[in-house]
Symmetry: C2
Subunit: 349 residues, 2 copies
Amino acid sequence: MELDERKRKILQAIIRNYLETGEPVGSRTISKYTDLNLSSATIRNEMADLEELGYILQPHTSAGRIPSDKGYRLYVDTMLMEKEEQLSQATQEVKEMQQILLEKEDKMEAILKQMAKVLAVNTNYATLVSAPQVKGNKLKFIQLSKVDVRQLLTTIVVEGNVIKNTMIQVAEPLDDETLLKLNILLNTNLNGLPIEEINLAMIAKLKQQAGIYNDIISEVMDAVAAVIKEDEDIEIYTSGTNNIFKYPELSDNQRASELITTFEEKQLLTELVQDTLTEEKNTGIQVYIGNETPVKTMKDCSVVTATYELEEGMKGTIGIIGPRRMDYDKVISTLKTLKSQLDTLYKKE
Amino acid sequence: MELDERKRKILQAIIRNYLETGEPVGSRTISKYTDLNLSSATIRNEMADLEELGYILQPHTSAGRIPSDKGYRLYVDTMLMEKEEQLSQATQEVKEMQQILLEKEDKMEAILKQMAKVLAVNTNYATLVSAPQVKGNKLKFIQLSKVDVRQLLTTIVVEGNVIKNTMIQVAEPLDDETLLKLNILLNTNLNGLPIEEINLAMIAKLKQQAGIYNDIISEVMDAVAAVIKEDEDIEIYTSGTNNIFKYPELSDNQRASELITTFEEKQLLTELVQDTLTEEKNTGIQVYIGNETPVKTMKDCSVVTATYELEEGMKGTIGIIGPRRMDYDKVISTLKTLKSQLDTLYKKE
DNA sequence: TGTTAGCACTCCACAACAATGAGTGCTAAT
DNA sequence: ATTAGCACTCATTGTTGTGGAGTGCTAACA
């Protein structure tokens, strides 16, 4: 048996309807509300076929049909509407978002948080935004400053303008000259160096050159190490977690609790982000349906992600998490426009 | 009618039992499981009195009684156990927490997050930890550094070692001498200055002295302004939100959704934190029962908070949010020990 | 041969009803 | 003052029955 055009149309109709209502859809509904002009009996026959082919399921004998993961997959891959209406609506929303984003919000962190929030409010799904991850980091600038008699401040800037500070307590005051020397020592040796290349030998050499101040060098290197480490776990901002309660299929205690935990322990979400960053296809948009998600607590959800890219090769992820019956059309086109806007917006600056 | 000793004992027994089971407790239970040696009938009479006095409630005619807010209040104010057993157990838990906390975690942020998490795991309630809020801020150190030909880095350190950085783009390269001059200008004028005192006149003066570089000063002052602003909204870390699902009285969709939102939009929690910081009593521990909480979405919860204090007058809040029938004894003694440990621990350093 | 009307069948959802039992208030006896 | 006893209340649970949405199958039709 084969999936001819008519079957595709019926499947599409079933999915559309189910996305709207969340209720199993019966043959009569399809017969009435499509332009196929077929009786319910015919539809029934076709539906039986579609079920045999694995695109739809029957929750129980005398219920209508709901899409299977395979059905959703086909829909997402080949049946999205891409109507202008749909698209322009998305563009509209993205425009609004942009406006909000650009209201002179300066800090990256604030922008990303805001982005997650606006997206959540607009879509009614839970959202996630990962801060851009830098790959192939280079140390760009390193500096020790005297804040106080006993306190030194380390400032480390990594490619992509990620800045980190640490305070160092010193036993006895340093004079300005020594401080200058240490700074020169650090910068001449470390500037422009890929972080991976800072190894034990390197550190030993520095310490040796620093003479009696080698313990300060140690602490500075600890700070650098911390930067590297911190860089590994990506910052992730989430919003709209409460939206899951809008979908009964996700809001029973068991599931809700698991999902909330997943969103709270951002740990698990990093897997998702990592996955999207590596698995990335041509479009930069990915759709995980049900069990396809890398995070098992989300097996009853669908996840749509977009990868965005700022200058200097910094990549981040935007994700939308909702029920299987998510409005794929809207979500995907929103993400697409947002992505392209982001890509160009930040490249121009 | 008066609340004699026997009534108090019965009330206490009712509350204890209800805290454990979460079910309305009947006269027979009290009669059997206390050392009062009274028949259920007598207990019933007493219970009727207690109800009339407002300490307990009947969910419906033929159900047992549950404590009212007034009942809980009396319990918390005058009936906590303070058994050695209880206390030493709490100390034990705090010790474990300390150990985890002190495992060379360097960053304040990480410590606080960790603290919230450990507390949540140990208590089975949702927790909140606010980062210490600095009052009467002084600027301690300010510095411009050249990171790149076109990029300057501003580093601002405020009393209590809060450090902020901002990047500034410059149209044309600055030579080292000018940079030094600007730095001296900034530091001599701003160091040690309470943040409130940096006003327009001050800024105008600086700009004038900076001559052609006054636009750089502008940007630096913007950064300072951002620090002040950022300081106003307190950083709050939460954990164990999913614990609310362990208590049926909180986990119906409506309530759960509201609570989750409250925890996500930390905005609302700041009210709570502000309240505890200002309302603070002698002990530093506060208990909000049901409607007493300043956050209305938590009207079905009880909240126990502790205020801790680090050096330089930085104060923060630790909060535990659970159902009305929270294990007040355990929570309060845990927070008490944790608070005192924190207070002393950080004062010594 | 594809389509459709018709019919028997299935099974969930929902309401009505009864049984259970935990708990109460009240009264009368101790 | 305390308690045994009893009638009463009411949430919970289980049973049963009915309605309706939806199906699969068969037979008739174009």
